[in-house]
């Protein structure tokens, strides 16, 4: 049933949209995706990695295609060959980079600098590729961010924030999110964000507080194992093993702590992003729920030696989509796609391999 959406925005600014809530659903299931995933892993190994391009496309098509607003599903448009070309070049680039850094440290240092300068370009191109490969009702998304602004947001501001003892860093994070959202388009319609700096500071402080308390608890636990390690007989036996377990705990711990920040910022971004007079979004994820999700996902992955991967991916998609709402005006189907053709997956693949993380939140 459609319900009239009343925006919570009560000041003089124009209402983002007077529209109707549309049912947002995810219809994937873990069993079905497990089949896709296990075939992906097997064929990727058998083909020494070549199939990974097909694996990526099928995985994305599965998740996009099972995400629907009412009866209309999202579509992932990239072809395996596009991805494969990008991957081959990215791997060659990666090997060259690794060889040079190993054999010619001075040239390597120079290459690191070049890579740093290239990073904003990679971020822009890879966001653009991903957006343009996403289609809804035959209208594609687009990203129009440019190098200059990306350089300021991803390189210059983080560098400058060092001189504020990172006190300005939450502001920098806000600038990054603004850059991504405000340069995103659906067809010819621009997304607009009205993000607020205080929320970023609250999120950062909350995350640090939770991390601090959690850290105290962990070190209380670890005190016990330090006593054991003081016993010289036991040192050789378990030291390396213990270090691995400790690292595991820390990695899991950081991931759970991160969830505090990610959840608060996700809610904030969704609740303050809209396409004027066409589309509005809402997100209502409870921090405790998200932490529970992440923690149980971790346990499942560790105790099934990774086999729970398919289940984890599907339930995570369900979790977030159930907590997201979308409102649209009735003339939403008048939006048209005005993007010129032709894109390459190169930047996306290079940033993947070099682990350049550019996801929102």
């Amino acid at each position: 049933m459609d319900t009239e959406h009343v925006s919570s925005n009560e000041n003089d600014a124009p209402q983002p949209v007077q529209g109707f809530e549309r049912a947002l659903t995810f219809s994937g299931n873990a069993k079905e995706f497990f089949g896709i995933w296990i075939v992906n892993v097997l064929l990727t190994i058998v083909t020494l990695g070549i199939y990974s391009a097909w694996a990526k496309v099928r995985t994305n098509q599965y998740f996009y295609g099972n995400t629907a607003i009412e009866n209309d599903r999202f579509t992932y448009l990239a072809t395996p060959i596009q991805i494969l070309k990008g991957r081959i070049i990215a791997v060659l680039f990666f090997i060259t980079f690794a060889l040079v850094v190993n054999f010619f440290p001075v040239v390597g240092a120079f290459m690191n600098l070049v890579f740093l300068l290239l990073m904003p370009l990679l971020i822009c191109m890879s966001l653009r590729f991903n957006m343009r490969m996403t289609s809804f009702r035959n209208v594609r998304f687009d990203f129009t961010g440019r190098y200059g602004r990306a350089f300021a947001v991803f390189i210059l501001y983080p560098f400058l924030s060092v001189f504020t003892l990172y006190l300005a860093f939450p502001l920098v994070l806000k600038k990054m999110d603004e850059f991504i959202v405000d340069n995103t388009k659906f067809g010819n319609q621009q997304f607009v964000s009205e993000l607020e700096t205080p929320t970023y500071y609250v999120a950062a402080i909350a995350t640090i507080c939770v991390g601090f308390v959690g850290g105290l608890i962990i070190s209380a636990f670890n005190f016990g194992s330090l006593v054991v390690m003081d016993n010289p007989e036991a040192v050789n036996d378990g030291l390396q093993f213990q270090l691995i377990i400790f690292g595991l705990l820390m990695a899991g711990f950081f991931q759970i702590i991160q969830t505090v920040y990610r959840t608060m910022i996700r809610n904030h971004i969704y609740n303050n992003t809209f396409i004027p007079e066409k589309v509005d979004l809402e997100s209502d994820v409870k921090i405790s729920d998200a932490m529970g999700l992440v923690a149980t996902n971790l346990l499942a992955l560790v105790f099934t030696f990774g086999l729970a991967y398919a289940w984890v991916k599907v339930r995570t998609a369900h979790f977030y989509i159930e907590r997201t709402k979308i409102f649209t005006s009735s003339d939403i189907d008048t939006i048209i796609d005005d993007i010129a053709q032709s894109d390459s997956a190169l930047a996306e693949e290079v940033s993947d391999l070099f682990d350049v993380d550019i996801a929102l939140t």
């Binding site: 219809s27 994937g28 079905e32 995706f33 089949g35 896709i36 296990i38 075939v39 892993v41 097997l42 990727t44 190994i45 020494l48 990695g49 990974s52 097909w54 694996a55 990526k56 099928r58 098509q61 599965y62 295609g65 099972n66 599903r73 579509t75 072809t79 090997i95 690794a98 190993n102 054999f103 010619f104 440290p105 809804f136 009702r137 035959n138 209208v139 067809g187 050789n236 036996d237 390396q240 093993f241 690292g247 595991l248 990695a251 899991g252 950081f254 991931q255 991160q258 971790l298 992955l301 560790v302 990774g306 086999l307 189907d333 008048t334 939006i335 048209i336 796609d337 993947d352 391999l353």
Partner: protein, 350 residues
């Protein structure tokens, strides 16, 4: 023969849709709206049919950027037949993905194949890749690495010049006996308190022996030579470059097999990578040991000299068996045992 399908048509770049009937002939298709009016038509050769993934409705992509989302529950086999030229062999993928027997087979095959690739394919590929690297590059690495290490880890040797000269003479005799003309082997002495009694080889033929090692093996110059033989083994087989190539190949492979990971999963894949690297490294150490143990007839350095050196180096301490799988080197006790075994066998042969 004409076949008809139902679907929702989206004009190029448009979010508006209308219900259509698609009439497919052998070579082309015609789209008709509900009231029988022609919407568009085109050659099938320019069309693309998306592959079946899960229960997602399939789409027919037309050449101008328009598309039809095909209604579910229709038998699309003759449409597939008509467009099979356009990358539609993927029906077999959907079939595999939905076969539970194939899932079980995959669960079995994935670890086996992974083991096979890591144990045989990557080392073999790395060996042949390393062979094509020109020797000049290896020499270059030696010079650069020594530059960096001399500034950080290493200090000049405190050994007496007599001792250094004596060991150097033995080293050049050893190298002469080995008669490996293609390698320019070079022995250097360095004081390195932070790494203790140790020796290492660089790919271009530089061997570094620490003062601590020479002092530990005082009066047993043949044991020092046995360690040096082991290092020559590393150089002869180009192990440094091989290990680097193997690590690189493995990390790329893991990235693409495991897909997108975050947090703990990334950490676990890091552990897996380290474990695999140590596994490669152990293989290479054993190969270098094998080289050192097999040269008695040429050099007069016996497996017992190697065993003595290893005994002194391990200081008699006993490592737990779990260390076998975590460490970058084989266990000292296993290496000593192998050396003694070799000595026994060669006695019998004499």
């Amino acid at each position: 023969m004409t076949k008809a399908y139902k679907g929702a048509y989206f004009a190029p770049r448009s979010g508006k849709s209308i219900d259509v009937q698609i009439e497919v002939n052998d070579y082309y298709c015609a789209l008709l709206s509900d009231d029988g009016e022609g919407v568009t038509q085109c050659n099938l050769i320019d069309c693309k049919l998306t592959s079946q993934i899960g229960q997602i409705p399939r789409e027919l992509w037309l050449p101008d950027g328009d598309k039809v989302v095909l209604a579910q529950g229709q038998d699309l086999s003759s449409l597939e037949q008509a467009i099979k030229h356009n990358g539609n062999g993927t029906g077999v993928l959907h079939w595999l993905e939905s076969q539970k027997k194939f899932w079980l087979l995959s669960l079995l095959l994935v670890p086996i194949l992974f083991y096979f690739i890591v144990t045989f394919v990557i080392p073999a590929a790395a060996k042949s890749a390393v062979k094509v690297l020109p020797h000049e590059i290896a020499l270059n690495i030696d010079n650069r690495s020594m530059d960096v290490m001399d500034r950080t880890l290493l200090e000049s040797s405190q050994l007496s010049l007599d001792k250094q000269a004596k060991l150097s003479r033995q080293f050049s005799r050893l190298v002469d006996k080995l008669a490996m003309s293609d390698k320019s082997l070079k022995l250097l002495f360095r004081d390195a308190p932070s790494i203790g009694a140790n020796a290492f080889a660089l790919p271009g033929g530089t061997i570094v022996v620490t003062d601590d090692l020479v002092e530990l093996l005082e009066d047993h110059d043949d044991a020092v030579m046995a360690i040096i033989l082991h290092e020559i083994g590393h150089i002869e087989h180009q192990h440094g470059l091989q290990l680097m190539t193997e690590s690189l190949a493995t990390s790329i492979m893991l990235t693409y097999i495991l897909g997108d990971l975050d947090g703990i999963a990334e950490y676990l894949s890091g552990i897996a990578l380290t474990g695999l690297q140590n596994n490669f490294s152990r293989q290479l150490e054993m190969e270098a040991d094998e080289f050192a143990l097999s040269m008695e007839s040429k050099t007069g350095i016996s497996p017992m000299d190697f065993a003595l050196a290893m005994e002194k180096l391990s200081g008699g301490e006993n490592q737990p068996d779990i260390a076998k799988y975590l460490s970058s080197h084989p266990l000292a006790k296993d290496r000593i045992e192998a050396a003694k075994e070799r000595a026994k066998n060669s006695d019998v042969a004499d």
